[in-house]
């Protein structure tokens, strides 16, 4: 199926449910088919602007963009309203999860890495010290 068709098809399904929130897990699954960065940027832009028009709040999940090459990353970050990076790093020989609010357009936010835990209550974030 064409990428453009997929975008329209996804939107129609969401519309048929009267949804206000949409989660795409993961957007990279279909955009990864595109090798050309310029085309990828265009398709991603189309996807986001289409969803904006439909007034959905969309959570686009994807693999670590750092692994995907800087040019792809920058285009995607500039198109969306906010970017949240989830990381897994080694600290004192133990692996910890961290969350970084990389971008939040028009919203004052605490930058840097925040400790993230997954527990019985769900996801818990501990804001980093310093504010």
């Amino acid at each position: 199926m064409e990428i453009d068709e997929t975008i329209i098809w996804l939107s129609e399904i969401a519309q048929s449910f009267g949804a206000h929130r949409l989660v795409i897990d993961s957007f990279y699954a279909f955009l990864s088919r595109i090798d050309n960065t310029a085309v990828l940027n265009e398709k991603f832009y189309n996807l986001v602007s289409y969803l904006n028009r439909l007034n959905y709040t969309t959570l686009l999940l994807g693999p670590s963009l750092e692994l995907s090459g800087a040019r792809k990353t920058e285009a995607i970050h500039s198109t969306v309203q906010g970017s949240i990076l989830l990381k897994s790093t080694m600290m004192q020989n133990r692996r910890v999860r961290q969350l970084e609010l990389y971008k939040m357009r028009g919203v004052n936010h605490v930058m840097g890495n925040h400790l993230l835990e997954i527990n019985t209550s769900g996801v818990q974030v501990f804001p980093r010290l310093g504010g």
């Binding site: 600290m91 004192q92 133990r94 910890v96 925040h114 400790l115 501990f126 980093r128 010290l129 310093g130």
Partner: protein
């Protein structure tokens, strides 16, 4: 605004104006000098004058402090039931039966989050907070993170009007960290053994009182099993 005291006569006499709520006190002392006894006296005094007391147990389980207070004839169950005495277990990483437990000692943000949560639930009360010993929690953490933690935490405690006593074991933290940290506290108490090899003597010294005049001479003190810390009048010892 009311002033607080330690409940240790000789020390309170040296601090005629007492300490304000919202002040931070650093107690720095050798291992075995009596820092926990001082913490116990501080809590006992707080309970006596109507404060809500929060004790963070880092070096021993909270039960040890309960027993310690009971040895000074302070029955803890009644105060705990009334919500006037609260223990935070920062000793057991798992298997604690306490209501408030720090399950992961590596992340100061988690400690800070729990401490804030507990303090928030006692907002509007006159609160004393004792962390015994805070240096234990900081041993596995980078210097930059320790300093950030102190700055953020102490600012919050000051703003919230919490009378705080943080205990540090001498020599555990880097001297440079201790010097920078010391600047953030209103009052510093130093407890040490005298250099006498044959008859060690306990000594107490006021190291700093922010914006106040104070006498920094050392005072000999002993620990009585009945009366707790007994500070002797200044005899110019160690000068």
């Amino acid at each position: 605004m009311s002033k607080a005291y330690f409940g240790i006569e000789g020390l309170d006499r040296s601090l005629e104006n007492g300490v304000s709520y919202g002040s931070q006190i650093a107690v720095v002392g050798d291992s075995g000098i009596g820092k926990t006894v001082m913490a116990g006296e501080f809590i006992k005094e707080g309970l006596r004058c109507g404060d809500t007391c929060i004790y963070v147990a880092c070096d021993e389980p909270p039960t040890a402090m309960r027993e310690h207070l009971q040895s000074f004839k302070v029955g803890t169950p009644a105060y705990e039931e009334m919500g006037r005495l609260i223990f935070i277990d920062a000793y057991e990483e798992s298997g604690s039966t306490e209501k408030y437990v720090i399950s992961d000692h590596r992340h100061l943000v988690k400690y800070y989050a729990l401490e804030k949560e507990v303090l928030h639930s006692y907002a509007g009360h006159r609160v004393r907070l004792v962390a015994d010993s805070l240096s234990t929690l900081l041993t596995m953490v980078d210097t930059a993170e320790i300093l950030e933690f102190h700055r953020t935490r102490l600012k919050h405690l000051r703003k919230s009007g919490i009378l705080t006593m943080d205990i540090f074991v001498s020599g555990v933290l880097d001297p440079q960290v201790m010097t920078i940290t010391g600047h953030l506290y209103n009052l510093i108490l130093k407890m040490s053994f005298s250099s006498s090899r044959y008859s060690p003597i306990r000594q107490l010294q006021i190291g700093k009182v922010k914006s106040q005049q104070f006498v920094s001479s050392r005072h000999i003190f002993t620990i009585s099993p009945i009366y707790g810390i007994l500070v002797y009048a200044d005899m110019g010892v160690g000068e």
